[in-house]
Every structure is written in C-alpha cells, then in structure tokens.
C-alpha cells in the first residue's frame, strides 16, 4: 500500500487553475521533494494533502483511505510551515505538547514524548523559553519537534529552510535527512531550490505552472531530463542550451548550430530539417586549450574559481557556453580555445514540444 496517492488532482481558485491533473504515488518511508519555480503550485498541492485547501476534483488517499472530505485535524499528518507558525504565547514545551494534550494523553506520556523529541533535536535546555526568545534555527527545530512528537503517518514540509542563512540551511538539510532515516516517516518536502531537492530527495517531483513535468530520482532527472524545462531547472550551473536544426551529411545526422556541426546520437534521418535544442551540461563541454589554432572556435570571456572546479564562460558561435574545467588546466580571459561535444553526452530536445528526444533511446535500451 502506498503512503500517499494522488489521483488526477485539480485545484481551481476563482478563475485560476493552480493544480492541473496531477497524479503521484508516494511509497511508505519515501522522502519526496516537490520542486519548481515560485508560484507553480507546490504549496497548494502540499496544503491539499494536509487538508488546508479543498480539492476541486480528483482524489487524495492517505494510507489506503480517501481523505478528500476529512478535515485537517483528523488526517493525522504533521506539517512544518515556512514561517514555523509556532504558538507565540506557549513555551517550547507547550508548543510541542499541544497535539498530545488535545488527544488527552496522560501527563507522563506527554512529558516523555516531548522530552524524547527535544533530545533528538537538542532542544532540552530551551523547553521553558517562548518562541520570541529563540533564534531562527531554534524555532525551526521546535517546528520540527512539534511535528515529531506525534505518531504521524505523513510529514509535510513547506520550504522549511528558506528563512535560514546559507550555512544553517546546509546543516539543517543534513539534519532533516538523518531525522528521516532515523524515524522512517513518509515525507513530502516542498522547496524552490533545486540543490536542496537534489541533495535531500529519494524522488523528486518537478512542477511548473500547476503540472508535473517529471517524477524521478535525482540521478534520473539529472541524466535524463524529460524535457527542456527539467533540463534547465535541474543542475547548477545549468545546462547549456543551443538552438539548432537537424541536418545530414556523409557522417549521418548532426545538429547544425550557426554553421557549427554538433554531433548527436543516431535518430531517424527523417528528422533532418526540423528544429532542435541541443543541451550540454557544463561538465560535458570539452575545452582544449592547446589545440591547433585552426581548430579554435571559442573565446574565454570569464573565469570563475569555485571550490574544486573552475567555471568558465565562453563565447561560442554568438552564444555563451558555461563549462566546468579542471583547476590545473591554465586558462585566461581572452584566450582562444577549442570546444567540442560528444554525441552520447548531449541532450536533444524537440524544437516544438521541448520533450527529450533521447528518451526514445533510453526506452529502447530497456532503462
């Protein structure tokens, strides 16, 4: 049995179709991240699962039971809000104890469960404080504590880290992940940050303007983006996208980009003449600095050192290409270089629909 199943779900606000026919099946103990640009409907979907928004059509099932008509208070889910939504007049202890007290748990049970949660989250010394006396990171922990004291079937997080500073954010990512491993609870986590999604998720749901663009593991999304949107959204620095046209010569099918011959995998020759977007990840842009001057086809414009790699912006046929290079290779601004691509590393997206043409091949490889 799945933990959460969403079938043909729709949400209409007055005149706005915010969730469009979404179906997702979430397995028990799975950590699923909903990711997409701001306004794409992530929060709406999460809030529908929580019971905070009504369903326009379709079905939401939690552990085998359709909950469309079940009010939020009876769904037994736990949720962490973006601004934490702690009760300002209650102490940390009482914030965490509230749901247990509502369930009329005995004093001993309340005390034990809250202290257990506090121990997991290092909140022990803060139990008597009010939320206003806590730092952002501590409030975040209390919000999580409030969620974990309950025996919830499903955990929902709505951008829980977006109010924290960069360092704390990275630290909390790991903490939430290890908490998930420890408690093994099904989790649906919303973020607009694709790096957060890539580092935390078992599976990622990429959303855009109310539709699901692709569902897959971080690797699947990175290596086989279903379409141009996912290709551009996942990955940092993002994939280089060059507009071109399919053409054929003695060597077979290739992509013509401003007169440059870009190699591509063998697809039906019937595609010749149709438009295509040629996608290459920065690590697949091969830069040769000592090549024969006759073969130079690009100029280095900007060189950025970022940790282990060098990120280089190149002028290539009127476009900007981003490449990651080994730090040891010397390269300077203004330098002429040769750029090359490999057919099996390039992604081809249909010029009209934006869907990934490589997927035809993934399918035939039985993957």
């Amino acid at each position: 049995m799945t933990a959460v199943t969403i079938r043909n779900l729709n949400k209409h606000y007055a005149g706005y179709h915010a969730i469009r026919n979404i179906s997702i099946a979430i397995e028990p103990e799975e950590f699923v991240v909903l990711v997409g640009p701001s306004g794409c409907g992530k929060s709406t979907l999460l809030r529908m699962i929580a019971g905070l928004e009504t369903v326009s059509s379709g079905e939401i099932e939690i552990v085998g039971k359709v909950v469309n008509e079940v009010p939020a208070k009876d769904r037994n889910i736990a949720m962490v809000f973006q601004n934490y939504a702690l009760y300002p007049h209650k102490t940390v202890f009482e914030n965490m104890a509230f749901s247990l007290r509502l369930k009329k748990q005995s004093r001993d049970v309340v005390d034990r469960r809250v202290r257990e949660a506090a121990a997991i989250l290092d909140l022990g010394p803060l139990l008597d404080r009010k939320p206003s006396q806590l730092s952002g990171g501590q409030r975040q922990r209390v919000a999580m504590g409030r969620a974990i004291v309950r025996d919830s079937k499903v955990f929902l997080f709505d951008e829980p880290l977006s109010n924290l500073d960069a360092k704390l954010r990275v630290q909390m990512r790991t903490e939430i992940r290890s908490l998930h491993q420890r408690l093994g609870c099904t989790t649906v986590y919303v973020t607009h940050d694709q790096i957060e999604a890539m580092t935390m998720a078992d599976r990622i749901v990429v959303m855009n303007t109310g539709v699901v663009e692709q569902i897959g593991t971080p690797d699947e999304l990175y290596d086989r983006p279903a379409n141009l949107f996912v290709a551009g959204f996942i990955g940092s620095p993002s994939m280089n996208l060059l507009e071109g046209t399919f053409a054929t010569d003695a060597g077979g099918l290739y992509v013509d980009h401003e007169g440059h011959r870009l190699p591509c995998i063998a697809l039906s020759a019937a595609r010749a003449g149709t438009d295509v977007t040629y996608g290459v990840r920065p690590e697949h842009v091969h830069v040769a600095v000592n090549a024969d001057p006759d073969r130079h086809n690009a100029t280095v414009r900007v060189v950025e050192l970022t940790g282990p790699d060098r990120i280089v912006a190149l002028d290539f046929a009127g476009d900007t290409l981003i490449a990651t290079m080994d730090k040891k290779t010397p390269v300077a601004t203004g330098q002429k270089v040769e750029v090359s691509f490999q057919a099996d590393e390039a992604h081809l997206f249909d010029g009209k629909t934006g869907s990934n043409l490589n997927s035809e091949r993934y399918a035939s490889n039985g993957e």
């Binding site: 929580a50 019971g51 905070l52 009010p71 939020a72 208070k73 009876d74 037994n76 889910i77 736990a78 949720m79 809000f81 601004n83 939504a85 702690l86 009760y87 300002p88 007049h89 209650k90 509230f98 749901s99 509502l102 369930k103 409030r146 309950r150």
Partner: protein
C-alpha cells in the same frame, strides 16, 4: 549635536504650550474651585463632605455597577460580533456597516430613543411584549429603580459595543492564518483553537478595549441624561450626572468641582498604566 537637540525642543514648544493651556487651564481651575479658592467651602474643599454624602456614594456605586456590567457586556458582545465579521460570510461589507451603526447614534439621542421605546403608554417594547403574550399589562420600566438600571445598561451595551468590537476585530485580523492552520494540523477543534490561539493572541487588544471602555463609561453622561436623567430618584444617577446636578441645579460649584476631581483622579489611575504600557511597546 547639543544645539540640534535644543532646536528640536523649540519646534515642540508651540504645540506644548497650546496643549498645556487647553488641557491645563480647566484642570487647574477645577482643582482651585474644588478647594473653594474662588469663594465657597472650607479649606478641605468639598472633599470631606463628599464622603458623608449619601447621594455621592450612591452615584459612585451606580457608576461602578454600570461600568462593570457595560464593559463586560461590551467585550462579550464585541468579541462575538468581531468573530462573525472576521469569518468568510457573504456580503461581509454590509454586515460590517450594520454592526457599526449604533456607534453613529449620538448618546443623548440614543437615550431618548430608548426612553420612547420603553414608554409605558406609547413605547414599542411594551406593545411588542404584550403582543408576544410575555405580559398582560404595559410596565413602566424606567419608573422602576432596578429595571431602570437594567435598561440603561442594555441601552449603552447596544450603543457602545461597536468601539470595543472594532478594536477586537483589528486584533483578530492581525493573527496570522498559519496559527490557525498549525492548530488544525495539531488536531484542535473550534473551541481548542479559540482558547489556545485566538484568545491568547487577542489578550493585549482585549486589555486596551477594556481600559478605553472603562474610561469612556465612567464619564458617560448623555445616554443616561436622555433616558432617565438619573431617575427614578437617584437610581441611575452616576458621577457625571451628580456633578452636573450639583453644578447646574444646586449651584454648589465648589462641591461639584470636588466630585469632578475625584472622578478625574480615578480615571487617571486607570489610564496611566495603560498609557505607560502603550509607550513601552513603542520602545
């Protein structure tokens, strides 16, 4: 820097002088008057006499009873109406306007309206009660000391509730929606949400409403003047009416001033902690 600071005081000076003159002159005049310094009672002023004046003590008791009842009812009714107006009902703007209407009635006129409605011969209240067979005979409500008090309390409850209601509505609207959502997720029903989220968050606003309303109701004059003129006898006479009568009916100016100063002192005692708390929040 020091120069600049003094410049700032110069800017404040005209306003301060004006305020001091407007507020200060009558205050000082009243205090002087109360000690009979403009010709009148002995050195202890009217103050000693007040303590043994049954009328003054009755007026004080009436004021206290009236204020406690009216303010309590205002907060309960105001909160109930504010909760309704804060919900997602249709044609909300219409109900908001209707709810505020009593506040637009001047208080003397409000008093007269109730007096007409409660009139034993021509009033609508008696006619309606008889038609509904709640009673056989018309009754002179305002002629009965107890019912007269109940009537003025009811009348002022109706006329004055919109003010605390608006304060509480503003308070309700300032409570973040996520608080309610978090409570729903935690499994709280309507009552648990009200006692755990709404009420604690609203407490500062309730306090403000209580303090302002107490001050307002202590000074109330027009409503009672229009409705019962303090009668029957002195059954509904409050301190404001007592001062008024001493001054304009008995011409006991010094005595009236003493009572006025006592009332002002009590109000000040209520107002000062409130003003201090408000100022402290601004820091």
């Amino acid at each position: 820097m020091i120069g600049e600071r003094w410049t700032a005081y110069w800017f404040v000076l005209p306003g301060t002088v004006l305020l001091a003159a407007i507020l200060g002159f009558p205050a000082i005049a009243s205090i002087l008057e109360s000690f009979g310094l403009q010709g009148g009672a002995g050195p202890a002023g009217g103050y000693a006499a007040l303590l043994s004046d049954a009328q003054f003590l009755t007026a004080s008791f009436n004021t206290a009873l009236f204020v406690v009842c009216v303010v309590t009812l205002h907060i309960i009714l105001g909160l109930a109406v504010a909760l309704l107006l804060n919900s997602q009902i249709r044609h909300l703007w219409f109900f908001r306007v209707v709810a505020i209407l009593p506040w637009t009635v001047p208080d003397v006129i409000g008093g007269l309206i109730f007096r007409f409605m409660l009139d034993p011969l021509s009033g609508g209240v008696n006619a309606l009660a008889i038609r509904l067979q709640l009673m056989q005979q018309p009754y002179d409500w305002l002629g009965d000391p107890d019912w007269a008090m109940v009537s003025v309390i009811m009348a002022e409850t109706w006329r004055g509730y919109p003010y605390p209601m608006l304060i509480l509505l503003a308070g309700l609207q300032a409570i973040p929606k996520e608080q309610y959502e978090a409570a729903a997720i935690d499994g709280a029903g309507a009552w648990a949400t009200f006692t755990n989220v709404t009420l604690p968050s609203l407490m500062p606003m309730i306090l403000i409403a209580v303090v302002l309303d107490v001050i307002w109701q202590c000074r109330l004059f027009g409503m009672i003047y229009g409705m019962t003129n303090g009668g029957p006898g002195d059954a509904t006479q409050n301190l404001s009416l007592f001062v008024y009568r001493q001054y304009f009916q008995f011409f006991e100016t010094s005595y009236a001033a003493s009572a006025a100063v006592v009332l002002a002192a009590v109000l000040l005692a209520v107002a000062v902690p409130y003003i201090r708390a408000t100022l402290r929040e601004k820091d």
